[in-house]
């Protein structure tokens, strides 16, 4: 298997790497259920969570993942960072990298932030925790672990994804993963919430939710990102959206008794998902949250594993002979 130095997106992973991370995540679930939730795997490693966009669950999930593997985890959010004082992204990245962390976990509103920083920072593994509308790979690995637990394998299954596809990095990453792992993505949204040429991903596209339900193995609801929909008129009202694209008990019956419900969170109850569906036995939403920690443990362990071999010598000035001598004397 190709070793993982960074995790930018599903686009860079091959099937073997995806399955490796999902299987590794599977074996970490157990640690999260023990009374003493800690393993020494990442002892002495430092993980910095650098979040330029607000996030509670993803950040908490990465933080717990690092801490449960005994890494030292530091959280930096945009509101408290030097970015507020006018520092550039690159300067922030280089400053943090100079403190020698092993992994930087980054969330940013701009697509490609992680690749950009990785080009300039040596010796630091970078994990994409969501970049704009580009990718959110750990969410997809989380979902794949949930599907593995439910079905064994997603191959041949139909996942019907409903909602704001245009703004969704989760949707994009899933469309990429579906091709690599052999499941079908059925995309459901009003035209105003679909990116142009979406069919080039090889997915099925529906505008009518009810028509898409039969034959679905999972219904995956996306949050209506009201904060990103302020200045255009994607749909008339949340109530009308719920009527046309909300998941309710009637639609669940139409989908069949084996169909499961997923949502990456946070949910808007009464908008994209009705409360009784969200809390039903078919809902795997809280499983997704649990599996998220396990998968992020796997990602951090995979990035930190084997680092000694490929680590390049730090590009630093050598200590002068006098300084070396002084250090020896001190010791």
């Amino acid at each position: 298997m190709r070793p993982l130095k960074h995790l930018f997106g599903i686009a860079d992973l091959d099937r073997e790497q995806i399955e490796y991370l999902v299987n590794l995540g599977d074996s970490f679930i157990d640690i999260n259920r023990r009374p003493l939730k800690k393993a020494p795997t990442l002892r002495g490693k430092t993980v910095i969570n650098l979040f330029f966009e607000n996030s509670t669950r993803t950040r908490t999930s990465f933080e717990l993942a690092g801490k449960r593997l005994s890494a030292d985890v530091i959280n930096i959010s945009a509101s408290t960072s030097a970015t507020k004082k006018g520092e550039t992204l690159l300067d922030t990245g280089q400053t943090l990298a100079a403190m020698q962390p092993h992994v930087l976990v980054i969330r940013h509103s701009l697509a490609g932030t992680c690749e950009f920083l990785a080009e300039h920072l040596e010796n630091t593994g970078i994990v994409n925790a969501g970049d704009g509308a580009h990718e959110h790979p750990t969410q997809i690995l989380t979902d794949l672990l949930t599907l593995k637990q439910t079905w064994g394998s997603p191959e041949g299954k139909v996942i019907t994804m409903v909602g704001d596809i245009a703004h969704s990095r989760v949707a994009r990453s899933h469309l990429l993963a579906a091709k690599k792992l052999g499941y079908t993505m059925r995309i459901v949204a009003p035209k105003t919430l679909l990116p142009s040429q979406i069919e080039r991903y090889g997915c099925e596209v529906y505008h009518d939710f009810d028509a898409a339900l039969p034959g679905s193995d999972a219904v995956y609801m996306l949050r209506v990102q009201t904060e990103r929909l302020t200045d255009n008129c994607a749909f008339p009202s949340l109530r009308e959206y719920h009527e046309a694209y909300g998941l309710n008990a009637k639609r669940m019956r139409a989908a069949g008794s084996d169909c499961i419900v997923m949502h990456p969170g946070p949910m808007n109850r009464g908008v994209e998902i009705a409360t009784d569906v969200a809390d039903s036995a078919k809902s795997h939403i809280l499983d997704q949250v649990e599996h998220g920690v396990a998968v992020r443990m796997a990602v951090l362990a995979a990035l930190c594993g084997g680092q000694a071999e490929e680590k390049k010598p730090a590009n630093r000035k050598q200590l002068s002979d006098e300084a070396m001598q002084a250090q020896r004397t001190l010791l």
Partner: protein, 175 residues
């Protein structure tokens, strides 16, 4: 090339019988914890023998991949199995079971992992082969075979078909 078979199937069966015998005298209820994957097979074999003697056995298995001390040089193994200790370890006397005892690092990692489940009353070690070459102060209380193997050799339990123990020379010594 010398003959790779170190111990033949009959000898392995006898050794397992003897190990079960030694463990059985220790108490009426035995906790066996095998280390994946060879140790789990040995623990299964001992469990079968103990149950034939009417000794009740509690079984668990550990995968110590996350407790190794060499993550920097190797990536996590792709085939990690789940650790399962389906009983409360607190206060129990545990027999840790492995196939081959070498440096002792695996056993150290396994003890670390057991302590993350709880505080056992005691941990004892049972191994099918003690091949010498210890790098840590760890010793087995119940040993099937003691055999001082050269450092450039792998000693391995083969469980396909009849069980046997092989010793093979490897080009470079990696452990």
């Amino acid at each position: 090339m010398t003959e790779p078979i170190l111990y033949r199937p009959e000898a392995v069966e006898d050794a397992l019988d003897q190990m079960a015998e030694n463990i059985a005298v220790s108490e009426s209820e035995v906790c066996l914890v095998g280390i994946h994957s060879g140790g789990a097979d040995v623990a299964d074999a001992i469990q079968k023998r103990l149950e034939q003697k009417g000794v009740s056995v509690m079984r668990g298995n550990l995968d110590i991949s996350f407790y190794r001390d060499d993550l920097d040089t190797i990536a996590p193994h792709p085939l990690v199995r789940r650790s399962e200790l389906p009983f409360d370890v607190a206060g129990k006397s545990i027999w840790l079971v492995d196939d081959v005892l070498y440096s002792g690092r695996t056993i150290r990692a396994a003890m670390d992992e057991i302590f993350d489940y709880g505080r056992p009353a005691s941990i004892r070690l049972a191994v099918l082969v003690d091949r010498g070459g210890r790098q840590l102060p760890i010793a087995a209380e119940c040993v099937g075979f003691s055999h001082e193997a050269p450092a450039d050799c792998n000693v391995e339990l083969v469980t396909e078909g009849q069980w046997l123990i092989e010793q093979r020379q490897v080009k470079s010594c990696d452990h």
